[in-house]
């Protein structure tokens, strides 16, 4: 264990190194660039390779190739680059490739405000690529959590053979806070299952174990692996039939849902007596938390629920968090996670409190946004 002082971007880079990162490919973009710059300095010391690619499309595709060659691999970007990665994230999903994509959110659409914050990519992170799937998305609210959730993102990717997204934002990226770094022996590190030695026959790369996750044969070891972007059977052969299509598409979602207990994390405070529950996540949750305390000082029985995992949500656990009559969702976008919270608490009063702010919303901003619903 080592105490230091770091920015959120540095914490993400350090988390990746602790998790065992061996390959990074990226393209410069504000406000994520320090992740690549920091790793350019450090990754070679950890026996890894970093390359700046010609664009974000090349970056994510190189990361997928590296993962199949056996490396824990990641890339980091912001909105415009994240949009460019959409198609290849679908490739990672259907080929069940473990990797981590960090999106340091900035205001959009399009070029938006490169240096300023936003939480507007939360639905994009959920379903950015075409097709049916579920992929885990984590949302840190502090420098320490940027580190912790990056490790968790790698562990989840390796455990479930899936791409995982870390949604940071411009506030967390450039925020400096104390950070406790863990040694690799002090923190759980998950490594992907791989098949036992090759038999000379091609190994079926998509044949699942009972946990629905197939062991991953790697390139260069005699498994005659077939990485296939088309809908495929267990061998990786193109299979455009309903039965195979259904079972594959269901399995890649179910393997994540089956481990919801592992994937889903939340942080609930003052919820026992709460009449009003404020739901928030990421950097905005910092101000929502202070607003909750302020409301309690004013005599309002306010509770606080912070989503650390944005997707998939654990509906049951969220419902059981609080008996509050009113639920108010505070987020720095036009009201996106609200849509699902409204669905989950369908028997209660659920209100959106969008705070569209290029800076971190202040507790006062949050109080003003929440007030109309109290």
């Amino acid at each position: 264990m080592r105490k230091t002082f770091a920015s959120g971007n540095m914490a993400i880079a350090e988390g990746a190194l602790t998790a065992g990162l061996k390959f990074y490919a990226g393209y410069p973009i504000t406000p994520s660039s320090e992740i690549m710059e920091y790793l350019a300095e450090k990754l070679p010391e950890y026996g890894g390779v970093l390359i700046q690619m010609e664009d974000e499309i090349a970056s994510i595709n190189a990361v997928i190739g590296a993962s199949w060659a056996g490396a824990k691999a990641m890339t980091a970007t912001s909105g415009p680059g994240f949009s460019l990665m959409a198609e290849a994230i679908g490739l990672a999903i259907i080929t069940e490739t473990p990797l981590v994509v960090v999106n340091v959110m900035r205001a959009g659409p399009s070029t938006g405000v490169p240096t300023k914050t936003s939480q507007s990519d939360v639905l994009q992170a959920r379903w950015m690529s075409h097709g049916d799937y579920i992929i885990p998305v984590y949302s840190p609210w502090s420098v320490q959590e940027a580190y912790d959730l990056t490790i968790k993102a790698f562990n989840t990717a390796e455990l479930l053979r899936t791409p995982v997204v870390v949604l940071s934002d411009a506030v967390i990226a450039h925020l400096w806070e104390p950070l406790t770094l863990m040694e690799r022996g002090d923190v759980e590190i998950v490594n992907r299952k791989t098949p036992v030695d090759p038999t000379g026959e091609p190994y079926p790369p998509y044949k699942p174990d009972p946990d629905l996750v197939p062991p991953m044969p790697l390139f260069g070891r005699g498994f005659k692996v077939l990485v296939e972007s088309l809908i495929h059977d267990e061998r990786g052969f193109y299979s455009p039939r309903d039965d195979g299509y259904r079972s594959l598409v269901k399995r890649i979602s179910l393997k994540v849902l089956k481990r919801l207990d592992y994937v889903y994390e939340q942080d609930a405070r003052f919820t026992e007596d709460a009449d009003v529950l404020l739901v928030s996540y990421g950097s905005t949750a910092r101000s929502t938390y202070l607003a909750t305390i302020e409301l309690r000082k004013q005599g309002v029985k306010a509770g606080f629920l912070r989503l650390k995992t944005l997707w998939p949500l654990d509906d049951d656990r969220i419902r059981k968090t609080s008996n509050a009559r009113k639920i108010i969702v505070v987020e720095n976008n036009i009201g996106k996670i609200y849509l699902d919270i409204d669905r989950i608490f369908k028997d209660r009063e659920v209100y959106p409190s969008p705070v569209l702010s290029l800076e971190l919303p202040t507790p006062r901003d949050v109080l003003e946004a929440v007030e109309p619903w109290l």
Partner: protein, 274 residues
Amino acid sequence: MTRQIHPLDKHLRLERIPTLYCPGCGLGIALGALLRALDKRISEGTINPDKVLWVGGIGCSSRMVFYVNYDAAHVIHGRAIPFALGAVLANPDLLAIVTGGDGDIAGIGGNHLIHAARRNVDMIVLMFTNFVYAMTGGQVAPTTPRGVSTTTTPRGNPEYPVNAVKLVGSLNANYVARASVTTPHYIEQFFYKALGMRGFRFIEIVSTCPEIYGRHIGLRDPVEMYSELRKRVKYKHKPSLEKAEIDWEKGIVIGEFVERSNPSLIEILKGVRS
């Protein structure tokens, strides 16, 4: 197990044969030549088959990768080169062979082609030029000659085609060659040489597509199209890049245009050469 009846069968996933290639397609000739070269390298003991990785994007020739009995990746359109780059940088023992059409490699994937050649990254790129987007039904390609009517240029192609050999040769590639399915011995010879080199190696293989391209230029008969291509192909011994003509009217020059021994990206990263 399927009975082995052809000397190259051991290089194929026989349960996936026959291929989806149309009767008269040139890709089978090319694949045969490529496998003969690879077979020779493997029997000499200079290549470990377990380390061979075939990567293809989208298109008829990209699909070659799932017919061969090696580690393979059939990825998304235009992105085979960056996928292969990630794989070889993560495991430098891999020998990456990228296959793709002129649309996949020089069209949608053109930016990756340029930068992979600039980096001299260790991989072989085999670009099959049939002058058309064939799998999608006959749209104009970056290699389609001017004036040719396609399904998306019904009044004739108004654009100038790309000469990929000249493009890649102007960069930092260690090997740039062009062959034709009408000269399978050169495909075999050039690929054999490329397999023994480091850095970025690019071979353009001019192929026949009587089914789709033949329809556009009035050469629907496979034998006739093959003969017409053969008439136009001229082999030159180590020609300069300026001579790398690829023109249906003026002729198609094949040969080895560039042979360099510049340090490859992996050699530089490993500190073996600088």
